[in-house]
Symmetry: C2
Subunit: 194 residues, 2 copies
């Protein structure tokens, strides 16, 4: 097998596993089921992956890494805190809609990860949460927003994250439209807390 | 056994099952584990419950019923839309903090329910979501709020619901404090969308 084939196979395994875990739960999905769904024998499957837990990590860490990469750039970029928050929200909603299986697995099953896997994932989540908190603070410092207690970050993220339950790419509104609407309420409220 | 004993036993089974399901997942928890955790033999356990799925239903429906009862009264009550939304939020955050295992199971496992169980639970969730939408519309009608698209209800509920992941009764802030803070942002934003 070539390196390209290997990476394509691994991606297919992760995509299929995300579907199965999202539908039946991580503990409710056996490796034999995954093996059957991807059409690989057990030996061939284990050629590509280390363990069921490594697949769970790949699914969840993959989703948040895809989110962190553009979000880091947005936060480091120019523009008002408000403009960057709007951009962050659009990227988040697009990401959740496109990777809905992965996010379902992330939110439902992150606590099924153990040890270093779990620690790494929580570290990534904190990093991402920190980006929002940074922009909120920058907005306070620049006078765009009134005072914002840190716990508001949790509410803000909840507003967007919870959408993994209902937001779809082919829904009535685009993910970006929904992000804009939510930002209208949110940013109006942040200004209003002055 | 007396009726009181029966109901106490059933409550203990549900409480224990909520703990196990929240920790290891619904599919990851066997009836033998539940039987052992509550200290009842399999026969005695099945005297109190119909099936594992009936326990999942009791846990999730129980949580939302405890939420709907006071929330119905708040929505039907007097006061501005804003005052009733604040009350609704306080009741929701208190409920999530006190029943955190049940809500963890609700959000993670509601799709593990099948047929009528699932339909009933979704019906209850829609009813509850409808209460928020009703107050938002009343606030628009009374001129308290600017126009509010229905999808904003999802964002608002996400802001609060997502707290099942981090809100605890013994946390730094009381659930009511958190509800008030979130409402400050939210209601400021709803006013500001005019």
């Amino acid at each position: 097998m070539t390196a390209t084939n290997d990476s394509a196979a691994r991606e297919r395994i992760h995509r299929t596993a995300a579907e199965l875990f999202a539908r039946n739960g991580y503990h409710g999905t056996g490796m034999s089921e995954l093996s059957e769904a991807v059409g690989l024998g057990r030996g061939a499957l284990y050629y590509h992956i280390v363990s069921k837990e490594s697949v769970l990590y790949a699914i969840t860490a993959g989703a948040i890494e895809q989110l962190i990469k553009p979000s880091d750039l947005i936060v480091q970029g120019d523009g008002t805190a408000e403009a960057r928050i709007r951009e962050l929200a659009r990227v988040l909603m697009r990401n959740i809609a496109e990777l809905s299986n992965q996010w379902t697995v992330f939110f439902r099953e992150h606590s099924s990860l153990t040890g270093q896997w779990h620690e790494d994932l929580m570290h990534k989540r904190e990093h991402y949460e920190g980006l929002w908190w940074q922009l909120l603070q920058e907005g306070v410092a620049s006078g765009e927003f009134g005072p914002v207690p840190q716990i508001v970050t949790k509410g803000v993220l909840g507003m967007f994250n919870y959408s993994y339950l209902w937001l779809r790419v082919d829904g009535l509104s685009t993910p970006e439209d929904v992000a804009d609407l939510f930002c209208d309420v949110l940013l109006g409220g942040l200004r209003a807390t002055e």
